[in-house]
Each structure stands twice: as C-alpha cells, then as structure tokens.
Symmetry: D2
Subunit: 385 residues, 4 copies
C-alpha cells in the first residue's frame, strides 16, 4: 500500500479486517510505502503492515508483491498506477482516477493492456459498496422505479465554511486538479452512473469559489479551485440528473444525498445516515403509499450477513472492507473488478465537461433593469386575536 | 372575488375567517364572480359570498366594491387586473402575475399609476406568510446566517407522474404560459428573493418534458409545457441559488424545499411540514451544533399568537388568511402591501430568462466516445462470515 | 354554544366552516353563552354567533335551539349536559366527560334516557377525527397489523416545565379533577380504545407532581393535581398498553405519540405532525420492509377529499370540523354519534382506576442497600490516534 | 477470551483494532477458548487469536495471561469470573452480570477482594461508550438539563415478533434468567443510572409473554421468560424513569430509545441512529428553540478524534473498541474501570425488583362492568365537498 494518511488508514482498516468477516483468498499485509521513514514506520505498526519502504518503485518490482493499493495523492496516481500495472501487479486505486484527463486516458490504456494479460485494476468509488446503495441499485435494476425520470444528487460538506480555514494542497489547481468538483462531485456522478447503469450524453455546469484567498504559510494565498459546483447531466435513457456539491454548506458534514424519481417509485439516500434507504413504491395503493425508511441492516441485504444481527448499524469505513472483499474475489476468479479505470475515466470526462461548460458561460442570461427596488419587507408581526 | 375553483376556495376561506383571528378593518364578502351562473351560485352559498355575478366588468365598476380579489386563470389576469386598478379598486391577484412578460409589464405599469392615486395592489405569493418562512426571513435579516453563500430551492410534486394523467389547460402553453416553471418555480424563486432580500443578476436554465403527449378529449394531445426545470441564479450579493422543480417527482406531494447556507448558519424548510423550521447556528460550540427542529407554533412566532396554543399546528390554507390580513392592514394604513406587482414582474423576468437560457442550449457540452461499456454490475451478494 | 375560551374558539371555527367543505344539514349559529356579557358579545362577533346570553338555562329551553355545544369547564359539564338532554336538545360535550366518576355516571344515564327519545349526545374526543388516526383505525380493523400485542401511548406537553408558571384552575383538584391524567391521558386512553376497538380489564398506575407549589394571587399555593402519570392497561384481547403523560416534558409542545405493535405490522403517530402516519407492513419481504411515512393528505384518505389537493396539509383545528360534520350527519340520520357518553364514562373509569392504583402503591418494591456508590463517571475523553 | 459467538466476534473486533486508533498499552491476543475444538480453531483464525483451548480453567491459570475477557453465556459468568479474579486476572465480563442475584452478589464480593489486590474488573455495558451517550452524560453532568424530572427509556427489538420463531436458550428461564428484561432492559436501566448518575429507590413493574409456546426440537416447548416488560423507577433525586422493553415490537430492530426531560433542556437518543443526539436547550429564546440533531462525529466529541473526519459515521461495534480502550487504560493506570461489578449488581437488583413487583400484582385494579359496548366505529368516510 502506498500512502498512509486518511485513505491509507481507511484502506488499512479494510485489509486488516476483511478476512474476519468475509471468505476471501488468503493474503498478507506486506509493505507500507511513504515518503517519511519515521512516519511510515509508525503507521505500519499501528495499521498492521509487516514492512515499510520509502521507495514505491522498488516495492512494485518485488516478486512477493501481487497487489498494489494506491492511496497517494492524485498527482501521483498516473505514474504509480501505470508502473504497477506494467510490473504485472493488480492495482486498487483511490478515486479520483487522476487530476487531468490526459493522465486518466493513459492510465485507462495501461489498465486495458494489463487486463489482457490477466492483471486487474479497480478505482475506489467506495460508496458503491454502501449496502443501502447496493440495495438501491438492485431495486432499480429490477424495475421497481420503472423508467427513471430525474435524479437529484448533492454532496455537501462544510469544512471550508469558515473563511479563515487555512490553505491546503486541496485548494490549489496544480495539486488537486479541481475543488469540490473532483473531490466530491466525482462520487455523486459515479453514483448516478452506477445506480442507473446509464451513460451521460450532455453536460452543462457552473462552478464558484466563494472564498478566493486563504491564509497560507506566507500570508494570504489564492484559492484556485471551486468551493461549489452545479451541473445538469442528460443521460442516454432520457433521464436528467442535477448534481450540486459544496464544501461550504454550513451544517452538512458529509452528506451525499440522492433522490431518484421514476415512473413507479422513488429512492432517497443520505450518507450521514448510511444504514437507511428511503423507498417509495408507487404501485402500492395511494391510501398507504409513503417513503419507507428501510434500515438496511438485515442478512437479506447486500454485505450485511457478514456483520452483526439486524439493527446493529455499520459505519462509513465498512464500505472499504466491502470494496476490498469484492476486489479480492474478482482477482481470485479472474474476473474484472468494478468500477474499472474506464469507469473512472468516464467520470473524469464528465467532470471535464462541467469545467468546460462553466468556463463557456455562454447560456447565461444577464438580467438588467429589475423594477425599482420594491422592498420585500414583511410587515406582519405576531399580533393576534 | 373572481374565480371559485381551487384558489377561489382557498381565498374564500381566508376572507370568511380572517376577522375571527386578526384585528382587521371591517369588510363584507360582497360578490362572487364566475362564468357559470349555477356553479357560482353554489360556490357563493358554500363559501359565504352574499351575491353572485357572471360579469366581472360590471362588478368592478360598482361603487360598493372596494377590493377585487382575482383568482381567475392566468390568461385573464392582465385584463381584469388592469381594469380593476383603473376602476380604482385595490387588487389582490393570485400568482403568477401573468402568462407573458408583456402582460406583466403592462400590469405593473397600471399598478404604479394606481398606487400614485392611493390604490393598492398585491400579488399572492402566499408562502411568504408561512410562519416558519416569515421566521426564516427574520433570522436572515438579523444576520443569523451571516453572508449567505448558496441556496438550494426545489419544488416537487407528482400529480403528473402517471403518464396517463389527462391533458388539462395547465399543460398547454397558450393557456398556462409554462408548466412547472411558472406554476411552482415562481414560488421557489419568490422565496429566494424574499428570504434573502436580494436581486438576481444572471440566470442559466434547463427545461424538460418527460411525457410529451397526454390523453385529451380527442385522443392524444401534445403537451407544450415543461414537466420539470432546473436553474442557477446569481444574486447581486454574490450568492448563488439553484432551483429545481418537477411535477413528476414521484412521492413528493407538495414539497417546496429550501436550504440556505450562510457563513454563520443554515436554514431548512419543507412545505409538507410547514409548521417546522430547521435552523443551525454555527456560532454555537461545535460540540453542540446541529440543525434544530423549531416547531414554529409559539405566540412568539409570526402570526401564531392569533391561533392556538403551542403545538397545535396550522394548515396550508392559513397562509391565505395571513396574506389577506396583511393586505387589509396595508390598505387601511395606506401603505403598499407586499409582494407588489413589481415583485411579481421580477419573478416573471427570471422565469423568462430561464426559458431563454434553456432554449439557447449554448453551454451544453456533448459527450462522445465514452469508454467501451464497462458494466457497472454489482457482484457482491449477501454472503457472510 | 356555552363557553368561548380555547375550546369555544375551536368549536366556533368548526361550526363556521363545516358547511363550506362538507354536505351537512343546514343549521344556524344561534346563541353564544358566557358569564361575562361584554366578553361573550365580543366573542360572538368574532366567531359568527347571531346572539349572546349569560344564562345557559334560559337558552337551553328555547324552542329554536336544537343542539347545545358545551365548551364550559369540566366542573359545569354534568349540570349543563343533563339539563340540556332533559330539555330534548342534542348535546356535543367537550372532553373529559366530567371531573368525577359520579357525575360521569349520572350524565351517561341521562344520555341513555335521552337517546331512547331520539336525543343524541357525543363527547368531544376530537383526535378520533385526525385523518391519520382514522386511517390507522381502518388499517387495524382490516387486520393489517394482525393481533396487536402492545401499544405505547404518550402525551407530552411542556407548558408547566417552568416551575414559576402561575397557579391556574387546571392545577387544583376541586376545579380540574386531576392534572395531566384527566386533561391529556384521557385523549391517549380514548385513542387506545378507539384504534383497537377493545376494552380495558386491568389497570396499574403512578402519578407524580414535580412542582408542588406555584405562585398564585396570594403567594405560593398548593398544586393538588399531577404533573405526570404512568399506567399500564391490560385489554381484553390480551394486548397491553402503556400510557405516559406529562405537562413538564421540556421541548414537547403537543405531542400525542402512539406506537402500535402487531403481529403483522406496526403504526406510528405524533400529533405534532398530524398529517403523517407511520406504517410498517411486516408481510412485505424483509429486504424492503420499513416504516412508511404516509402523508395522509390524499382524497383517498378519511375526510381529505373535502379539503385541498394532495400535500396541502391541514391543521389541528380541522379535527373539530370533522367532529361536527359527523355529529350533524348522525343527528340527521337518527343514528348514535360516536364517541358516546358511555365511551367518555369508560375513559373516566380507567382514569379513576389509575388514581386508585397510584394511591395504593402496594406493588412498589423498595430498594435498599445499593452497593457502595461506585462512581459512574466516564473517564474517556476525546483523545485519539 | 472465552466464547466466540456474537459477543466473542464483537469483542475480538475491538481487541484486533483498538491499538490502530487509540494509544493503549501493548498487548497480545493470546488464547481463544471455546467448547468445540474445531469451532474455536476456525474462529481464532478469523478473529486474530494466536492459540486456542477448550479448557478455560487451564488458561486462566497461565502466567502469560493477564486479562480474561468473558463472552460465555450468562449461566457460566459466575464460575468463570470468580475463578479468574481469584487467579489474579483482570476481568472484562459481558453483561448482564449474572443470571441470578445470588451469583451477582458472589461475583461482586470476588471483585471487591480482587480489587484490593490491584486486580480490576469491568462489566460490559458497552452503550456507555456510544459517543452520543457519552456526550449526553457530559451535558447532563454540566447541568445543561437542570434538574431532570423524567426519563422515558425503551429498548425495542422484533426478532421474536414472528410466533413461529424457534425456541432457543434465550427463551428458557434456567439458561437466560429472564427474557427481554435481563437481555435489554438491563441496558436501558444501566443508561438511566449512567446518564443521571443517580440511584433507584423504588421499582414497580409488569412482565408479559405474548407467545407462550415455540417450536423446539421435540415439538412445542414452553417459553418461560418474558417477551416484554414495563417498569417505573423512582430515583433518589426525585426523578422518575419509565422503562419499556420488548422483543416483539414489529419494525424495531435494535432501538434503544432514551428521552430525558429536565427543567432546562431535554435529550433524545435512538441506538438505530447512534451517531446522533437530540438536544433541546430550553434556556435559548423560545422563538428559536427546538431539538437539535447533533451529528456526534466531530473531533470535539468523546472518542471521535481517533476515527475519521466529521460526518464519516461509526458503527455499533465501535462501542466495544471504546470499552476495551478504557478498560486497558484503567488497568495501566491502576484505576478502577467503570462500570464495575457493583454497577452490574445494582442493575441486577433493579431487574429483580421488577420481577418481584410484577409477580405481586397487588396494585392492579380490575375493571368490571364497563358500559354496554358502545361501538367505537368510525362512520366517516372520505366524502367531501
């Protein structure tokens, strides 16, 4: 595994525990790789890795390494992933696939070549393995919503709501590629594609940065990525999806919200309550129709039989355990794990189109001459009878 | 009052009851006007009107009429409202102001002329008088959210979700002007303007009709208005609002949802639970921060002291009672009731810009050559330890 | 109508509006009766009563009076109701039936005598006419829950949570009979009986007064009724219901909550969201089971076709409109309106049994010699990895 | 560790992961003990234990064993725990302490003797380590609720709602001690004591078995424990707590619900949404009062800094990780871990008092002679205007 920060910790948790819950092929947590020798040593001790290294190139050449799990920052994805695939290692790569479309295309080509030689690859859109969303996918695939008409997807966080929050690599275009768009819209868009099993044909978008400077080490520095983005996506089925993301949505912590409206039913989901799925079956008599709160925590639900009895909820990190379980099973079976690098590239192209559309601004209508400012004051008070 | 269908019934309820709860100037429910003599007679009996007429022109000329409440369909608004104002009657007009921008402008001009002569007018965006939204307005005006960054507004209904639902005048451009856009986006946009006390400077939009033909009296007829619409609005304060509306959002009955995210706080609202306001105060210690469910049902809340003790919730129709109370008080005081025809025109211009932008389609990016269809199938099943 | 305070205002609203929504026999709002001539005159003007009187005895003797609606305080119920029934007037009486069991029994006897002569009577447990609860009753009667095993009923308010809230007649045994028990447990118990269509066979109860003195006109006065009460009721079907009520439940405004657990399903309700019913159908596949939020606002639902289109919610006061509609229809049809005085007496007997059981205290186990106080302090802090 | 079923799996997860998140003294997962050699070997492999044994007596005598974690069924608790403590091993024991009061008293005596010799013990009421409940405890201890008046505690599950669910050891008095009472009321009662830091002085209770026979290996067998139980507890502070538990509450999966009403505020919790705490601060202006949904997922909250960024929710099993972290830190520091065996005994005595009170039935009032069955049928239908 390369990288041991937030994602490295989450992936390590999954590697350390997956075999306790699922029947997966035997494996060992061999080497943890990072730039700082002391840091990587401490992390390896905590997270259960047998060895450490500061040189990923050497490690991916080792004969006793079969799988490379890449949790390094996005700007390193292309170089490491291509090298690992060329070295014949199966690759699990954190999302997003890459910071640029060119990198993403090169990586996908490498993945296709490797796949022909039996070397597998997977991109880590872990929310596909939230049991409630896996159930949603099943219900949609079974036709329980009928034709889906529109989807409302939002991913809202608020860790940048405070305008004095400091500059980080995530706020610079050269290191992060984009802001909320690449970081969280990527998840929202992948879910739309995953749940509907559909393709995007048209994109229109807007992006905005509310706080354009933030305190860095040498005073105020320019924020060169978006705080928030909006898009509408046309899908080949005729459905339309709206996507709205923000890292300044005060009070929303990690809220990926999905609303899917079909002819025969509808689905609701919020990542802050990830054990629940809202489902409305419109074929039921109107008299007793309503959104059901399904506590997706039964042995009958995807992945859940492995864990605890009903009602004993699981956490966010379990999605990675499910992801690695499916990755290991696919490698063992010689099948292609999903989502593939192609899936990652598809998301990247859509993100790119959002940026292009936002830059074009050509369909924005200017409004001038609004009527002389009539006050919208409310004159009512609480006076009563 | 002219018109006695849905809106006429709701306005009548308000006229019949307002004086039982609020201290308003004395008035009489004089004449109900409608096209069908038998129908209007029955309605007048039920709803408390003393007389009936089938000729609105005669009625608005009567000396014993001071106020004209127009609940007729949109295509009649301009003619009746202008005539009534010219006849020196105060006018309460159901929203939207008009079906076309030209009509809306003429009506606003008439209202301005009349106002100079002490004749008042008001457009019926009744949701400004939902107590929870009036409270939201107060909180925002007091600076409790700080600078508002973005707003997420949606108005979702599902009465057209069934594709066999029949053709009506609401689905024809010539009678309805537009579809979900004019009918319900108008409410959502008015709320954005009302709550933020701000102006829109830029608009971009999309519109879509999912069911393009519906059964009419003579077989399938073309639907010439939108089922759903999406827009982003830039406000002069720098805030951005997304607006999304649909009449095919299966499972949503009358859900006007607002989410307002500011620097210091956030607000949530859903018309299906109109007695509640969500409020997060981000200046509170993080340890105890969270969205509050305020049951807006206390004597301290706007309009509520007039009704029942705390926790005895009010219904949708009460918003009209509040509207008419404020209208009557403004007339009595010789002040301008709000929202004015100018406010209605402002909304109309924004709706128009959404239509223009949607027609332009110039910032839509076409996506071609998505990577060879990697299946997004979920391989996981419920297997466990 | 006798009385024009809180309940008088609510009943007046219903009388004033019922014919606008429902097909009921024609009637006139004749006389409003109260002790204070000026007060009753003002109220009559506001609420739509043609005449006023300060002498209920005279009014109930009038030939042009057919119905007496009694909204006077509980200690006057027996005298007025018996006199009105004996005068051959149909009687609608606010709950609770009476302050004492003896009065309740005398009133029920009078009602039975009158009924034999075609004179009807009804006790105003208005929550039977909440559409969501009427729907719940239908679902239970249709067997959708199977055998009901247990019910959890609570009625929580907080208007006495502040210990400096002043003394009122509601806090004195001689005027109010009891406290939370008679005032709100009566509603909760009536709902259990109504929804299950069952009888109580055994009762055990507790009562408690948290604030025993409150500021009165002449300094601190003794509170002689309960702030809160708890009971378990055995029903003849074998079901068990718990009832818990409080007027010091901080944060709960008017929350009558019901949870009904049966073999085949379950039902949830909260009066603060009275347009919603929670329903779980346990015969549905486990994979998609969950509590549905039914917005009880469709024409298919009890009473709703009379009001507004779907999703336009109604308020608390509408329950009285439904009650009076049903009362008028029953009188017109010569059938017995429900709930009857017998139903009111049944509730009274149960309340009485709760008081007896609470006074007996005979099954309370004293705990002594708890182990030497081991502190239950939490030593954990927020320290992390 | 002794036992490797449900609780053994959950404890193993905590032992395997605690050092990855928290700074705890170093330890090794030495021996897993179970009755079935093959079963224990498989479990040890999965859950990370180095060795296995089928003889707990031998293991607790080993010099290289310092801690014994007892996850065996309740009827084995006393024997193993006393032996382990006498052997000088620190003991972590799953709840409930024991099946009988006599055993619980003997165990507590053993724990007190051991403690004097520096040998620690702890009973596994893991819900004390739900971060939201730890936060609730902090808020209450800080006086944020003022004087607590009443508590409403319920623990509802539905795994016995199906009357054909088979007989198990949990349904026999000789193996389980009691039913819902010991299994889940123990958790609810422990929370009341933990959160309020108070003692119970009086108990009154009821118990009921709805399904008295269930299919066993040899046909229908008698269920000799309760399906549901109800109690009211008086606390020495003057507060009153109601406790209601059921394993037949259809639709409730693992719902431990707490509502705590104080003079100055109130708290809500539901284990099915364990990352959330409801908190109402009644010292805030009435205009903006309401229950806050605090997502207890911030670094500022108990235990959370160790896990993931805000909004990335944790699961049920994490409570054991917190429990073992606190247990290890207490042992390391030579302090007494909490909850102690005395705490476990206190709960046991209260459960015992519930059983005694339920058996006495002496305050149950029989109701006879309810008035001739007036039907409670609802005559209203959906007819409208």
């Amino acid at each position: 595994m390369i990288g041991y920060a937030f994602m490295g910790k989450a992936h390590s948790n999954a590697w350390r525990n997956v075999a306790s819950y699922f029947d997966v092929p035997a494996f060992e947590q061999k080497v943890l790789v990072g730039r700082d020798a002391a840091g990587v040593a401490e992390a390896a001790g905590k997270y259960g890795w047998a060895e450490t290294s500061t040189d990923w190139r050497t490690v991916i050449e080792r004969d006793d390494i079969d799988i490379v799990d890449i949790c390094a920052p996005g700007w390193l994805h292309a170089e490491i992933a291509i090298a690992a695939l060329e070295a014949g290692k199966h690759v699990l790569l954190e999302k997003p696939l890459a910071n640029t479309l060119a990198e993403a295309e090169a990586m996908t080509a490498a993945a296709q070549t490797a796949r022909a030689a039996g070397v597998q690859s997977m991109v880590g859109f872990n929310y596909r393995r939230v049991p409630a969303l896996a159930l949603a996918k099943e219900l949609i695939a079974e036709g329980r919503l009928g034709t889906v008409r529109h989807v409302r997807a939002a991913y809202f966080q608020d860790w940048l709501a405070d305008e004095s929050a400091p500059m980080t690599w995530r706020l610079k275009r050269e290191t992060a590629g984009s802001g909320a768009l690449g970081d969280i819209a990527s998840h929202a868009i992948d879910q739309v594609l995953f749940l509907l099993g559909d393709q995007v044909t048209e994109v229109s978008g807007r992006m905005h940065t509310f706080t354009t400077q933030r305190p860095g080490e040498a005073g105020l520095e320019e924020v060169t990525v978006d705080d928030a983005a909006w898009a509408t996506l046309s899908l080949s089925s005729g459905a339309i999806a709206s996507v709205e993301v923000s890292r300044v949505a005060t009070g929303r912590k990690n809220s990926l919200k999905l609303e899917i409206y079909g002819e025969k039913g509808a689905i609701l989901f919020d990542l802050e309550n990830l054990n629940e799925l809202g489902f409305l079956d419109a074929t039921v008599s109107v008299r007793e129709q309503g959104f059901r709160r399904i506590l997706v925590n039964e042995p009958e639900h995807p992945y859940l039989a492995a864990w605890w009895p009903q009602g004993h909820i699981i956490g966010w990190e379990h999605t990675f355990t499910h992801e690695i379980r499916d990755f290991l099973l696919a490698i063992d079976a010689g099948t292609e794990p999903s989502p593939s690098f192609e899936d990652g590239l598809t998301v990247q192209r859509i993100l790119n189109a959002v940026e292009e559309s936002a830059a074009a601004k050509s369909s924005i209508i200017q409004l001038a001459g609004t009527p002389a400012g009539t006050p919208t004051a409310l004159t009512a008070t609480s006076e009563g009878a």
